[in-house]
Subunit: 234 residues, 2 copies
């Protein structure tokens, strides 16, 4: 299938229409942003890593019964996906304290959590993606109660599958962000799963293998993305 | 029962021990603070209003089967209560958009919400009372799942009872904050219910009859507290 007009350009991907209204093509860029776009840069080759890794993860999850938007990898940076209506929530799952969780709650980074923490943030650049809870989602009409329950169940199941998978390549899955969408009356997993959207720490050394290297100016950004690819076998 | 040593001095109340370990005496002050203590002042007579109004509300709720810490009013400012172990959460219930909800989510003040919104904030002056959700509460061990469910059910039931009561005296209950505690293995309602902890708007004029007059320098603070007392018939 071919790209027709560009529907949307986000911070990390472009979305194109196709001849078929049920599908779109996502095109992964090397652009990197952090802190709601306040920090900008380029991570050479990131688009390729994130495209291939996302597709690998979606296929793995599909094998375990998780519905995803993945259809077909078209090139190094382009993938055909089911065109969904995005639920305007960033769904964050945390296994270990880090980032904003640590800062907001005064918990040192690296503290293992007693149980997974699931957070919703309302996707709004203008409002700085504020954290919200179930009752906000219902009161604002961003999703129905059934959708919220489905999203939570899927997110926790995805966490179990991803934790296990990454541990098998010596990576601790610290936390990650998902987006879900509506497709023909069902909630399916959309967007991406990549070092942009996950915190990955080496199991032994706790070395960061994710976008925190960019956010925190730690250097070795491209190398970290490449290392994760290598460990996955891509 | 008599006060023995002072156990704690908070921003609005002092808590004293008694001869009986199961009870304590709360003593309501005229001190007013806002924005996590960054704004300070005095509202003359507030302690008396908040003491009498809280006790009136606790008695009303007890009549409808809600367990509260209320035992006996000892004087204009002092009340004997069951000594609880406070669950370190501010439980906020919202019927109409206002305050931080409006600011964070970009919803104009006064917008009626489709369903009540229930928020938890972790009681921590050092962390500025961050908003948290159920999974934070469980992961941090602040309460058990059963306690969280009980607190939510009680809070929503209390909202229904309070909304109805205040409407009968021509006041719209916009939002309010509750605190719960553990007493002999049960979750009971503690702390206070007053113009310090509720947003009250006149049904017709939408005039503010609560601490927002102090927070926002609207004047007529003492008069507003007195007006609510008068409407309740106290
Ligand atoms: N299957 C899909 N159908 C439609 N839109 C999608 C799909 N998957 C992801 N999107 C959306 O594509 C947009 C572009 O992605 P991205 O560049 O990551 O945006 P953002 O700047 O919001 O992070 C996002 O709004 C994302 O929600
Ligand atoms: N029944 C009770 N038993 C023990 N402590 C209580 C009870 N009711 C309220 N408290 C606590 O009394 C303290 C004093 O109240 P307040 O001055 O409002 O404190 P704050 O500065 O935390 O708002 C608070 O920590 C509150 O949680
Ligand atoms: Mg994105
Ligand atoms: Mg208080």
């Amino acid at each position: 299938m071919e790209k027709t007009e560009q529907l949307y350009e986000g911070k990390a991907k472009k979305v194109f229409a196709t001849d078929d209204l049920d599908y779109c093509i996502v095109s992964y860029k090397d652009d990197a942003t952090a802190f709601n776009g306040k920090k900008k840069g380029t991570i050479t080759g990131k688009g390729v890593v994130n495209n291939k890794m996302s597709n690998y993860m979606f296929k793995m999850l599909e094998k375990h019964g998780i519905l995803t938007h993945y259809v077909k990898e078209l090139s190094d940076r382009d993938t055909l996906v089911k065109k969904v209506q995005i639920v305007p929530l960033e769904v964050i799952i945390r296994n270990v304290a880090a980032g904003s969780f640590s800062k907001r709650l005064g918990v040192p980074e690296g503290s293992v959590l007693k149980c997974p923490v699931l957070e919703f943030c309302y996707k709004s650049d203008a409002l700085d993606d504020p954290m919200v809870n179930d009752s906000h989602v219902l009161a604002m009409g961003w999703a129905t109660e059934a959708e919220v329950n489905t999203i939570k169940e899927m997110a926790l199941r995805i966490n179990e599958l991803m934790k296990k998978f990454f541990l098998s390549v010596n990576i601790d899955l610290i936390d990650f962000k998902l987006e879900f969408g509506r497709y023909k009356g069902q909630i399916i997993l959309a967007d991406e799963i990549s070092p942009d959207t996950c915190r990955f720490w080496d199991v032994k050394t706790h070395e960061k293998l994710d976008k925190d290297r960019f956010r925190r100016n730690l250097g070795g950004v491209e190398e970290a993305y490449a290392e994760v690819m290598k460990r996955i076998g891509l």
